[in-house]
């Protein structure tokens, strides 16, 4: 069964996302909303992983032998300035979509298994991951015109 591999992927992806939110928060601390909301969302990712512990206990955590292009890349550096913020947010957005898609994959498996406990977790976490992406997109839309047209 490949499910444990995906559980491992998901757990790793949430960890990478949490770290990335924190990295972006610190890198753009002069934007107070980015700073605070990224920290709030990082905690949300931590909470997802915590809820996941019992699932991994039940199914195990597999390693992927395939060439691991699926692994979520953590953001380790940030750019500066208005355009830098825009690009960093875009990286972050891609990462949330990656996590989101992984939740969807796991959800399909949970449906097949009729694992109610897992389904409740997946539904809530997937909804939150989706919202994380929507927040980033909302912020990108706000920042884009100023950054691309007039920022110094």
């Amino acid at each position: 069964m490949m499910l444990p591999v995906y559980l491992g992927l998901l757990d790793g992806a949430e960890a990478a996302l949490a770290a990335s939110f924190r990295r972006i928060a610190e890198g753009h601390g002069d934007e107070p909303d980015v700073f605070h909301i990224c920290h709030t969302l990082a905690k949300q990712c931590d909470a997802h992983r915590e809820r996941f512990v019992s699932v991994i206990e039940r199914y195990g955590r597999g390693e992927d032998d395939a060439p691991d292009r699926l692994h979520a890349e953590e953001i380790t550096e940030t750019r500066s300035g208005a355009v830098g913020l825009l690009r960093d947010l875009q990286d972050l957005y891609v990462l949330t979509k990656m996590v989101d898609a992984t939740w969807v994959v796991v959800k399909q498996a949970a449906l097949g298994l009729r694992d109610e406990e897992l389904l409740v977790i997946v539904d809530e976490c997937e909804r939150q991951t989706n919202l994380q992406g929507e927040w980033i997109m909302t912020r990108i839309k706000q920042a884009a015109p100023q950054a691309l047209l007039v920022a110094r």
Binding site: D30, E31, P32, D33, H36, I37, H39, T40, L41, A82, L131, Q132, E134, W135, M137, T138, K141, Q142, A144, P145, Q146, L149, V150, A151, R152
Partner: protein, 825 residues
């Protein structure tokens, strides 16, 4: 005669539930004058808070010499509060007024003529537009101008310049009221009415020190309390306010924990079955998610986080759940905290869950701070589109484009309007290069004032300020334009409960001062803004034409003004909108039928996630099929971002006093008010004072990670672990921009952070440390008549008035009724 400094609320005129609030006409004339000396009385309404009390201005020899309440006005039934009585006219008729434009020459502001000043602005504006485009322009306006002025500014900014960077200081006072109504009901628009005070069985004041912020509204409550069937009162406030003293339950929550309390109150409604199942089914969406969100907030959990007694949570919820008619009011304690919108939405939820909305005595007043904040919101001067239109709805934008005869893409609607804090951030980063500030004083009123002063002082930023006085902010400007004040110009404005008033011109402005409307129109003319037909973009020249233009803009929208006119507003009372063919006499309450403006084609907003502020995508909104149902929105409580620490062990919160408005530019110039609260102070609890070795009046240093203030301490009635500072006290009396050696402005310490949905800054939560500096000269200058009263009443001489005798005439006329058949029926 009554000393209305010592006795803020005047004599009682008790009345019973469903009775009519008796008339009491309050009048104040300049020393030595009597009625016989007054040449004429000119109709107006007070602009020193959001209550909007109808009044007449006394004129003698071309000057304003006093004021009296209008008996016929539905808002105040003749009454005025101390600010209206003393500051409305003395705060304008004053020798400190700016009378000529100023421009900066070699670093100094020097007098000049209008042509030179306006040319300077237009040249800079034109050059920036040509070189770098409209996003270089930011407009930061007020909650104190008139409707016609905001509408003109809205058109100039959106269709003329074409910038999304426009906001009002309403962002600091009332943005959350608007946001919470959009989230819950689909659009801005006050559901309730002041008449609900006359008819309720219980009144809940959430973070609303009504006794000081809207003194005349509080008189109405006091008169119900003094009547035969007083309503129960529940107060949420960390200070022992006058409201708290009259409360049946006082929930003195720690700053930063409002949402925990609200989630707990909502949970109690579910626990005890105090839910109107049918109303919830027919008229709301989202009850299951709401229930799940509040699940963990037992009274004990709330008590733990908020620092209150769990039984008080139960008692408050029981009052809400079991009283037939409940009125809630909400203000800065909620709006200026973190999670502001989520907390204010939970107030809406209490009413939606119990169906206590849109009927007699059952309503919500999401309050405003400033007098004309409502119009800033309606006319789009806060960045929103005029007429509560939805910037994400192409048809709404197209409607405006047709009305203004411009191409739809001229109106910025590609991203949310830029909120005030972000405008200042862009100015800080240098991408906004022209900032036009009208009728407000951000150098004192915005959070983290050292930073704001630094931004305004930037060499590269061209700052235009139009004001009555040389404020701290004006001192940092490149061009200062002298504006006409209240009583010196004509226009309309709308109070908290949608009541529209006309203010006629009583006297000429001093020197060369001009109305804000004339200034905006002059700029538009000089910039030669034109519509697609080649005609001037704004084809009106005076306030009454402007009002008519606005009426067209409001047609068919929730704030429909089409049934009003200057003529109808003259002579009698103000009239609450919507006023149109369907409601020819105005409207007492919205949502009587449980139908909310949430249809996707009609709503003002598709809503947001309350935790992060993420926008709900339009297609997702449609898929929910709201169809006139309200949203029961919720968010989990998260702790505030700045909590007490070893270095900064106390919670710091800021607010206002009954005697002052905003940064005191008017109230500080009324000697009665100035004497009552002449300078800044810090309030702290007896326990904290004892621990720190501080006695009443000792001078203390209050430090946060951002700055320091040094002020006398009032050992008072705030909860232990929290200190309070009034936000009014800047530096204009010292002819200075900033503090020098003795900082007093509460915002030296506040932090740059805002609610994710309403973008209202967090003024109520920070962490500080307090240290004794030296002995004071006697007690702190804080009033003893308000929430600032000393813990030890004998330690401080009571606040008394100086020339503060006011005539109160009870029963001079029959009480007015809101001019519709809806009231009391």
């Amino acid at each position: 005669m009554v000393d209305r400094i010592a006795n803020i609320w005047g004599n009682r005129t008790p009345f019973e539930r469903e009775g009519l609030w008796p008339v009491r006409v309050d009048q104040k004339l300049a020393d030595g004058l009597t009625d016989a000396d007054v040449d004429r009385w000119v109709q107006s309404a007070c602009v020193l808070c959001s209550n909007g009390c109808g009044c007449d201005i006394a004129v003698k020899d071309g000057r304003m010499v006093g004021v009296r309440g209008r008996a016929a006005d539905i808002v105040n039934h003749g009454r005025l509060g101390p600010k209206g009585l003393f500051a409305s006219w003395q705060g304008v008729d004053n020798r400190d007024r700016l009378t000529r434009p100023l421009i900066r020459v070699d670093g100094e502001l020097v007098e000049t003529d209008w042509d030179t000043a306006m040319t300077r602005i237009v040249e800079r504006s034109r050059a920036l537009l040509d070189e770098r485009g409209p996003l270089t322009h930011g407009f930061y306006t007020s909650g104190q101008l008139f409707l016609e002025e905001y509408y003109a500014l809205g058109i100039v900014g959106k269709a003329g310049v074409g910038t999304p960077h426009m906001d009002g200081n309403t962002r600091l006072c009332t943005a959350t009221a608007a946001a919470a109504m959009k989230e819950s009901f689909g659009s801005d628009g006050q559901p309730g009415s002041y008449v609900d005070i006359d008819e309720c069985d219980a009144i809940f004041l959430f973070g609303h020190n009504m006794a000081e912020t809207q003194t005349v509204l509080w008189m109405r409550v006091l008169d119900r309390i003094a009547g035969p069937d007083r309503p129960l009162v529940v107060c949420v406030d960390p200070r022992e306010t006058e409201v708290a003293r009259h409360a049946d339950v006082h929930l003195a929550v720690r700053p930063g924990t409002n949402l925990a309390l609200m989630n707990g109150l909502v949970r109690e409604l579910f626990e005890h079955g105090w839910i109107d199942e049918e109303y919830v089914r027919e008229h709301t969406l989202g009850v299951d998610e709401l229930k799940a969100t509040v699940e963990q907030w037992t009274p004990e959990a709330v008590a733990e986080v908020c620092g209150i007694d769990p039984n008080d949570v139960r008692r408050a919820a029981r009052i809400f759940g079991t009283s037939e008619r409940v009125l809630s009011t909400v203000l800065q304690g909620f709006y200026q905290s973190h999670q502001a919108t989520a907390s204010a939405c939970q107030v809406n939820n209490l009413h939606l869950l119990t169906g206590k909305l849109g009927r007699r005595g059952a309503g919500i007043l999401q309050m405003n701070g400033q007098p004309t904040a409502q119009n800033t919101r309606e006319c789009g001067a806060d960045g929103d589109l005029p007429g509560f239109r939805n910037w994400e709805n192409q048809d709404h934008v197209a409607e405006l484009a047709r009305l203004w005869k411009v191409h739809v893409d001229q109106i910025p609607h590609w991203a949310p309007p830029t909120h005030a804090m972000q405008i200042f951030r862009y100015a800080e980063q240098g991408s906004i290069e022209l900032l036009w500030i009208s009728a407000t004083n951000p150098a004192v009123s915005m959070p983290q004032s050292p930073r704001i002063r630094r931004i305004l002082a930037k060499e590269e930023l061209f700052v235009v300020v139009q004001d009555l006085y040389l404020t701290e902010t004006a001192r940092l400007a490149d061009v200062v334009l002298p504006a006409a004040g209240w009583g010196e110009k004509q226009g309309t404005y709308t109070n908290v409960n949608r009541t529209v008033h006309l203010s006629d011109k009583a006297i000429e402005p001093p020197g060369e001062a001009r109305s804000d409307l004339d200034i905006f129109l002059d700029y538009a003319r000089r910039m030669d803004f034109r519509n697609d037909e080649g005609q001037p973009l704004i084809d009106w020249s005076g306030p009454e034409d402007g009002f008519r233009a606005w009426q067209e803009c409001s047609r068919g929208r929730p704030c429909d003004y089409t049934g009003l006119s200057y003529e109808r507003l003259r002579g009698g009372s103000g009239i609450p909108w919507p006023c149109n063919d369907e409601h020819p006499d105005g409207t007492v309450r919205l949502y009587r039928d449980g139908q909310f403006p949430t249809e996707p084609d009609y709503c003002e907003s598709y809503g947001h996630d309350l935790l992060t502020g993420a926008s709900v995508p339009p297609q997702e909104y449609r898929a929910m099929r709201p169809d006139g149902r309200a949203f029961l929105k919720a968010a989990e409580h998260v702790p505030p971002h700045e909590e007490p620490s070893d270095d900064y062990p106390l919670r710091y919160t800021t607010g206002r006093t009954a005697y002052h408005f905003h940064t005191r530019t008017k109230t500080g110039r009324a000697r009665q008010l100035n004497a009552a609260a002449p300078s800044a102070w810090l309030e702290m609890s007896t326990a904290d004072a004892e621990r720190l070795g501080i006695r009443e009046g000792d001078v203390v240093s209050v430090r946060s990670p951002r700055g320091e203030i040094v002020v006398p301490a009032r050992v008072g009635n705030v909860i232990e672990g929290t200190v309070f500072a009034p936000f009014h006290y800047g530096y204009w009396e010292r002819d200075a921009v900033g503090p020098g050696e003795e900082p007093t402005a509460a915002n030296e310490l506040t932090l740059t952070e805002w609610d994710p949905v309403s973008k209202q800054p967090v003024f109520k939560i920070a962490a500080v440390r307090v240290q004794r500096v030296r002995d004071g000269n006697g007690p702190a200058p804080a009033p003893t008549t308000t929430a600032s009263r000393p813990a030890d009443a004998d330690a401080v001489a009571p606040t008394r008035g100086v020339d503060a005798e006011v005539l109160e005439l009870v029963g001079a006329a029959e009480p007015p009724r809101v001019a519709t058949k809806e009231e009391h029926g």
